[in-house]
Point group: C2
Chain length 250, copies 2
Amino acid sequence: MLSKNTVKFIKSLHQKKYRNSSQRFFVEGEKSVLEVLNSNFLTETLFATDQFLEKHERFLLKLDLEVQEVTQKQLESMGSYQSNDMALALVKMKENLPIRPEEEEWMIALDDVRDPGNLGTIIRIADWYGIRKLLFSSQTADFYNPKVIQASMGSFCRIDFSYGDLLSWLEKYQGPVYGAFMDGENVHGFQKIQPGVLVMGNESNGVSKAIENRVSQKLAIPSFGQAESLNVAIATAILCDNLKRLENYA
Amino acid sequence: MLSKNTVKFIKSLHQKKYRNSSQRFFVEGEKSVLEVLNSNFLTETLFATDQFLEKHERFLLKLDLEVQEVTQKQLESMGSYQSNDMALALVKMKENLPIRPEEEEWMIALDDVRDPGNLGTIIRIADWYGIRKLLFSSQTADFYNPKVIQASMGSFCRIDFSYGDLLSWLEKYQGPVYGAFMDGENVHGFQKIQPGVLVMGNESNGVSKAIENRVSQKLAIPSFGQAESLNVAIATAILCDNLKRLENYA
């Protein structure tokens, strides 16, 4: 039996302050729930319909997991999906550990990317391009926000991330620091590039002045038309694509 | 004085059937309203706060335009923006004219892209890359949906588009037809490319079978990680960036 208190607790996790105080978040939908069960995140409780439990019975038997059978209606009342006939996982947040760079490795640093949809999309892009380490300024959207988890399409399970003071992190970092700027050097003009950190800035203000001073190479996406700018997730995708191309095909 | 009937009429334009029957749509916010006033769309009525009217007085004097001064609250009750202290324009839809291709020109064709946010973002990307002609299958999201207008960030004013039967259009088209496919040829491996039509498919199902048969070159975005796919707007951006690079820098 699903208790009222459990429903109330899961609902509270829509808000950052309750996620932080309980150190818990939730993951919804068949694909994302399977991904989180397969990851190094610790799932405490799985709420699932009999449809999900039947379909994934053999996989679930291998896991040591508290399972509560619930109805579609109950799932929808707890989570943020309008329609969820499968599952919702209650998961422990990870400790915020520092990111340790290795040589010749791409990383992405987000300087106050505020929109959860953008953050989730950037996580998915990083995963596509095999970039596993992400640094987030403390004003960047919350990784555990249900919209971030949803937009990342399971990729949130496959990256390492750390929130903290970007500037002091970059001051200690030895490798090249790239950043996206309207007045940067045309990324199509490069012949090769050395892996390093790619800094992407805030939706309205771009990269902050303090961080800009730590950027060793400003990059720009060439424009051929009249749009004034690109969305930050779109710009991240285009730059990652160019950087990986230059690393692998140039 | 803003009449109740006017408010009711603008509100009805949130729905496609009323946009179609009246052949009108609305544009919100300072930037987009200024763009539409500067474009070849015909604005019938401008609803604006005294703040907007004062700030843009000299520009507005040059236009032959019916203007109604309204409050911020009235703007917000008519439109879809939570916060709009500037303006809303009531605009006539354009006639759905066929797109006539020219030689050596890039175009984008959308085969059932259903999400208005994706469509708006793709319009903004097309405008960034100077691609002015877009073809939409009849099941593609409605160009005049407020979410499309908003996501395009003013770029909706700078493209030509046509809804219709993609397949019969492509059957008459003489140039190369490119399409985004998971099993396509790695776009990073090309040395040059001839301008043509880039077909992007539906969010869940990709390019339909019938259209696939008309594609002369399948393209793929190389993956370096584990994400299964990319969002269609992200994929459009990456492909446009590669195609324009190959055209201009290869």
